[in-house]
């Protein structure tokens, strides 16, 4: 065993000890396990990102998460066992075959949620151009629109008023809406790049221009996105309003 590998295992063991003890066995089927979409392009440029996000979710919230994400193929059976999907890419994507597009469309129409993340920070080219083409074909009746600052997404757990990510390409998120619900959420700021953390505990990428504060915001946004996927507009219920207004003031 090489020294580096040994140190990595040691660090992972220490991290495991630091996890809170829930005292109850939660079946995997009852956990939040994000399905990462395998596509024809570079589909997994940030392999540790979702593992770290799920770990942070377990640390910060009552959401029970799996150890890591699961890769899913849109055309394969079992897609609906992962109501929350993550589609990330670095560079252009080939067009999705129509059966895969139909499967993803059905997933979203029946209540699924898709987070799309541009790892390459592209804007008008590369992943951005490809995924906009795919999303337009996916839900032609629901164009990508900016998510308003007042949307419940920005208060589903943390009270947020700015974006996070490895980059700051766009100070907003975009979304496609089905029946008033955000079904597809698109970030051009490489959220996964901010979440990715190596086994030795070092962040894999620097966040620019905001540094660690921008990374923390990326995690908080990730937490809010997961909360939104699981609770939808719960924080828009009237009972929360006075508390949120007080804290925002």
């Amino acid at each position: 065993m090489r020294r580096r590998h040994f140190l990595e295992l040691l660090a992972m063991g220490a991290a495991g000890l630091a996890l809170p003890s829930r005292g109850r066995a939660v079946p995997a089927s009852s956990q939040l396990i994000i399905g990462q979409v395998q596509h024809g392009g570079r589909w997994n440029p940030r392999p540790s990102a979702l593992r770290r996000l799920q770990w942070e979710l377990a640390q910060r919230t009552s959401i029970e998460t799996g150890a890591d994400a699961v890769p899913v193929r849109l055309g394969q059976p079992g897609l609906h066992r992962s109501p929350m999907l993550y589609l990330v890419g670095d560079g252009a994507l080939p067009p999705f075959p129509e059966p895969e597009r139909a499967a993803l469309r059905r997933h979203l129409q029946y209540g699924g949620f898709l987070l799309v993340d541009a790892a390459d920070g592209s804007d008008g080219s590369g992943f951005d151009a490809s995924v906009r083409r795919e999303l337009a074909a996916l839900l032609p009746g629901s164009p990508l629109l900016r998510v308003a600052r007042e949307h419940v997404l920005y208060k589903s757990f943390y009270l947020l008023d700015h974006q996070g990510g490895r980059l700051a390409v766009k100070p907003w998120l975009e979304a496609q809406v089905i029946d008033g619900r955000l079904a597809v959420l698109y970030s051009q700021n490489d959220l996964g790049g901010a979440w990715a953390r190596g086994p030795l505990g070092d962040w894999e990428y620097a966040c620019t221009p905001g540094g660690e504060a921008q990374r923390e915001t990326a995690f908080r946004l990730g937490v809010n996105i997961a909360m939104y996927a699981l609770c939808t507009d719960y924080k828009d219920d009237a009972v929360h309003l006075p508390f949120i207004l007080r804290r925002r003031s």
Binding site: P20, S21, R24, A25, V26, P27, A28, S29, S30, L32, Q59, R60, T61, S62, I63, E64, P77, G78, L79, H80, R81, P83, R106, H107, Y110, G111, G112, K155, S156, F157, Y158, L159, D179, R181, V223, A226, M227, A229, L230, C231, T232, D233, Y234, K235, D237, V239, H240, F243, I244, R247
Partner: protein, 767 residues
Amino acid sequence: MEGYNAWRLTSLAPWPRWALAVLVLAAVAAVALAWRGLRGEPRPGRRAALLALRAASAVLTLFLLVEPALRLLQTSRVKSRLAVLVDASRSMRFPVEPGGRTRAEAAAAFVGRHRGELEALGDRVSLEWHTFERDLAPADPAALVRGAPPRGGRTDLLGALKAAAGGGTGRKLAGAVVLSDGADNAALAEGLTPATRAELRALGMPVTAIAVGTGSPKDLALERVAVDDFAFVRNTVTVEVGLTVRGFGREEVPIVLRREGAVVARGAVRLEPGQERYTVPLSFVPDTTGTFVFTVAAPVFPGEAVAENNSRSFVLRVIRDRVRVLLVAGRPSWDERFLRTLLKQDPNIDLISFYILRTATDQPGSQDELSLIPFPVAEIFGEQLRTFDAVLFVNFAYQPYRSLDIERFLPALRDYVRNGGGFAMLGGEQSFGEARYGSTALAEVLPLESPEAAGIATGAARPRLTPEGLRHPVTSLAAGDAPNEAAWAALPPLPAVNRTRALPPGSGARVLLDAPAVPVDGRAAPLVAVREVGSGRALAVATDASWHWGFVAAEDLGSSRAYQHFWNNALRWLVRDPSLTPVQVEPDRPAVEPGEPVGLSISVRAPDYGPGAGAPVQGELVGEDGQVVARGEAVAGPDGTAHLELTPPGPGAYKVVATARPRCGSGPCPPDAPIERATGAVAVRASGPEDADAAPRPELLRAVAQATGGTFSSAEAGLPEVRLTDPEVVEVGRRKDLPIWDRGWFLAALVGTLAAEWVLRRRWGYW
């Protein structure tokens, strides 16, 4: 002429009218032609003579053609009628003045004193004696003098006058004498309106009104209760109580509103001298749905004329505007997410949610940067609990939150179910035995036994309908046993099932779905179970993966309808949606008068939700003391409905209880066929309109007399002038026509005028 006392001119000509008109026109034309031909005559004397001769000829010709005659008639004057109407309504039981004789006695004495004067009018009119209240009835004047007990439940003066005017075999009513206290509670209840004034005038006769009773007895009456027929649960209902108070000093009168014995609102009114009418608003918030009898009551004070009018009952149907559901989730999960989405989509559901988003061990950062709110345990499980129609625990444990001490509210939640609430527990690692609910008060209402730390079975558990699940509305995904079983069999298996046990028979619990792949003590683990406890209902779904029946099923089946169907059924069953009730009962009227029977329509649904034709039904009236006071039985007709009439023993509020065996409609009735039950309410009024206001209304009688051109007096002052219309003149007997045209000199005159004109014209050079 002998025997004839009248005559008039008539025509004996057989011509129709149009022919006569043509003749007249021809005569006019003949005169006009003569005038036209004489325009050039310079000598006016000649012109006038010729025109006169032509006109005379025309008139004589017409006279002969019309054949005039003298009609001799034998006529006589016919007596019109005079109706004497004596009030026989119950208000005549009240004293003329406080402590005095009754109005009925005063009326009898008046008839005794003035009967002779009235009968003296017999040479002009034919005298008729009646009593009146709701209807008009002929009466014997001797009996009126003796005084008959007044029993009528209503006073309808205008109706009585109309009935009197319409009677008499066509003979005209020349007038009416009304002897009454004027306490009309029909068309004239609000006094004379333009419409009623016009109706009185249309009678065409003067009314002589004699008021009986001048002073108002001491009385407090709940004269009016204004409230809608239905109200929304948990919404404030305001009942407006109208009081009429007479003979009281400055006093404060407490008013209470009771729902089937329990006080739900109180109010008071401060009496002021000179003011007789008061309105008291009583507000309350109904907390449960159903049909209830409410009673407004004021105390009975010493010396009051009528005690019965101090309370009034009415029936109010309390319905839900929207089903109010409390959803408490132990943590965000897909089970919670899909259920919330489903419930939020239903516009009839008002969803209140509380999710535990962080635990004590979670480290999200500063509280000020979070949108989290404190869990208002005391509020939702305490004061607000009864406002919910159903409470759903989605993988929610009570123990982890020590500071909140949720366990102390579990008995209240148990009682909430027993008292009519709906409760559902959904599975997960924080539910059932995993959360040790089996040792809490909630276990007394849960439909499953929750062995402690029995664990969660993972794998593929396919749900199986039990025999009871086949028929139960909660697990009815399709009509009919086989389609229903097929619908369940097509659903994807569940990946996790909480290990629980079925409750023993007799507990009222039923397992509807089980999981053969998950054995517990050698038997298939229950998956869905229901229980009726007290008047409430509980549901257990021993998995946190019911969303697989929707979202996961949609991948294979292309539909999530089974999931929607199941949860819609479950919620409707929990909140006792009327459309799922196998027996329903509806009184024909919410309130009846004393002595009237109560009509009940009882409808029965068969287990397949079709009409329960042939099912035996039973209806009961239950008094406020819980005793059955009337009972009846019937058999549902082809439409599943039976009608019963039960007679309550007296005024008051009655609960209506209908029971039926819907499974006994066709074929032999199995001994274990369940008895289904439905309840309603009906009120028997303690006081009718006659008792509501004991005050006499002489001013109304005066107004009636004035409107009809009659006279008014009080009984003490005696009989005033009785005005009558002129008697009607009608023909009777013989008639005879004497022709007057067939005299010879009329013809001679005509020949003479024609000849004279001819001669003169020739002489003066016109021909």
